[in-house]
């Protein structure tokens, strides 16, 4: 197994700030905006975005929720391993809100397809956007594209893109892993 560093901690930090600025550009005060971290890996990025927006750009009262998509996935009974659910924590309705889905890697688009179905259980948002740190180009199974993308990556299907977060893996970094 070999791994190649795609983004260092410094590069990740610059990208996160750029993404925060792009969000502010489109959402200004975030009055009707809610951020939704897609479980399991999107929640770290979602937490970071909230912190940067609140602490460095002084946007107050950002509403953030976590959405688990396990029971909405289209590969139930199709994989080798059973699916394990995570916590959903959305203590607000998304009716008429501008929802921003946040996930670390956009690959086939199937997770986001599931999230689009799952979020409907919490109301009818006025719009839904997608923010991802990594966009794996040319590997989509569905017509889904991010509105805010950190870095586009061209990787073959055998390769894996892994995002590390300080709070989970001890460092901020993005690796390309090949078997």
């Amino acid at each position: 197994m070999s791994q190649k560093l795609l983004l260092s901690a410094k590069e990740v930090n610059i990208i996160l700030h750029r993404l925060a600025c792009q969000l502010i550009e489109n959402h200004t005060h975030f009055k009707d905006t809610v951020l939704i971290g897609v479980q399991p890996r999107g929640i770290f990025l979602a937490d970071r975005m909230k912190n940067i927006l609140e602490q460095e750009y002084k946007v107050s009262d950002i509403r953030l929720g976590y959405l688990d998509i396990t029971f909405y996935r289209d590969d139930f009974r199709r994989g080798e391993k059973p699916l394990e659910a995570n916590t959903t924590a959305i203590d607000f309705v998304v009716e008429d809100k501008r929802v921003v889905f946040i996930d670390d890697v956009l690959y086939t688009g199937r997770s986001i397809r599931s999230a689009l179905t799952a979020i409907q259980s919490f109301g009818r948002p006025s719009s839904i956007e997608l923010l991802t740190l990594i966009d794996r180009r040319f590997s989509r199974h569905l017509p889904i594209q991010p509105n805010y993308r950190g870095r586009q990556v061209d990787a073959i299907n055998m390769e894996k893109v892994k995002v590390h977060w300080t709070e989970n893996e001890g460092e901020d970094a993005v690796y390309l892993i090949a078997d």
């Binding site: 029971f71 909405y72 996935r73 009974r77 059973p82 959903t88 259980s121």
Partner: protein, 309 residues
């Protein structure tokens, strides 16, 4: 662990503590889902489940049906009263006919103990036992333990007394297995005629004095007298039974601590518990019913994940 160790839920006797924990963790997610504005997930949209009820049921049948529909499964219902069983068809033939219509899972209630075990050996579908005579009622025991866990934080180390007709009760037997598996202390209480002879061999203690049993416990699970399973008289009169084994508010008020009252339903108000107890804050009877849907969703979901594509 994220998979059940069994392919069917035939009884608590056949599952492990890890299985119970997995079912509870999964049920936690489903409990959150059934409290959303839209209470449905599409997980089982390509699964068909048959509910076969060869014995009367209201709560369990509705709870299973709701759980299946919340998971988006297709559901067919069958009750023995309006079926070819009356015309002399055997159980295997009845079920195989239903399965030939491409059914993936069977939820069955049957008056004969062991019916679901028998079925699991002869038909090609995942079986959930929804009560087999006086033998087992695993999903009821799971939802009872789940409700205790929700109320008291855990089941391990808790003292639970099961009061009433232990002899004819599948709820009692499944509860004893489930509670012991999770490390609870279990006592049974009732008229001697309604306590099975070798019940202590299951690791439970026996008490015939209701007040002493209630004074000992954290949770009292009150059972109904199952008159429909009695061919002889096991106690002199309902009035005398109520005097000795019925729980009322006065009794609860004399206890040194506040205990939790559970009942699997249907309640005979004024017999095993009075209305003021059934409707009191100490009773978690309606929580049990709500948890029943979440727990059954978890069991169905986890067994469905084993159905081959």
């Amino acid at each position: 662990m994220s998979e059940l160790s069994v392919n069917h839920l035939l009884g608590i006797k056949y599952i492990t503590e890890d299985d119970i924990n997995l079912i509870f963790e999964t049920a936690d997610h489903f409990k959150e889902i059934i409290n959303r504005p839209i209470k449905k997930v599409p997980s089982l949209r390509d699964i068909t489940i048959a509910n076969l009820f060869f014995e009367n049921s209201t709560r369990t049948r509705l709870s299973f049906e709701l759980a299946e529909k919340r998971l988006s499964a297709d559901v067919i219902n069958f009750s023995a009263a309006s079926s070819s069983v009356k015309k002399g068809e055997t159980l295997i033939d009845t079920v195989n006919n239903i399965l030939s219509m491409k059914v993936d899972m069977v939820v069955m209630r049957h008056p004969n103990p062991g019916a679901s075990v028998f079925l699991s050996k002869h038909v090609n579908a995942h079986i959930i036992n929804a009560g087999d005579g006086p033998h087992e009622h695993p999903t009821q025991a799971l939802l009872d333990s789940y409700s205790i866990r929700e109320k008291l934080g855990s089941v391990a180390g808790k003292k639970v007394v099961i009061v009433g007709d232990i002899l004819h009760s599948r709820v009692a037997l499944s509860n004893i297995f489930a509670l012991k598996l999770q490390g609870a202390e279990v006592k049974v209480c009732g008229p001697k005629t309604l306590l099975p002879k070798y019940i202590e061999s299951l690791g439970v203690t026996v008490e015939t004095n209701l007040i002493k049993a209630l004074e000992w416990c954290d949770v009292a699970n009150m059972l109904r007298i199952q008159n429909e399973r009695m061919e002889i008289s096991y106690y002199p009169s309902t009035r005398e039974y109520t005097q000795q084994f019925g729980v009322n508010k006065q009794i609860l008020d004399t206890l040194s601590k506040e205990i939790i009252i559970m009942h699997p339903g249907p309640i005979n108000r004024g017999v095993e518990i009075t209305s003021d107890v059934a409707d009191s804050k100490q009773a978690i009877i309606l929580d049990q019913v709500q948890n029943g849907v979440a727990v059954r969703m978890a069991v169905i979901y986890l067994l469905a994940s084993k159905i081959k594509q």
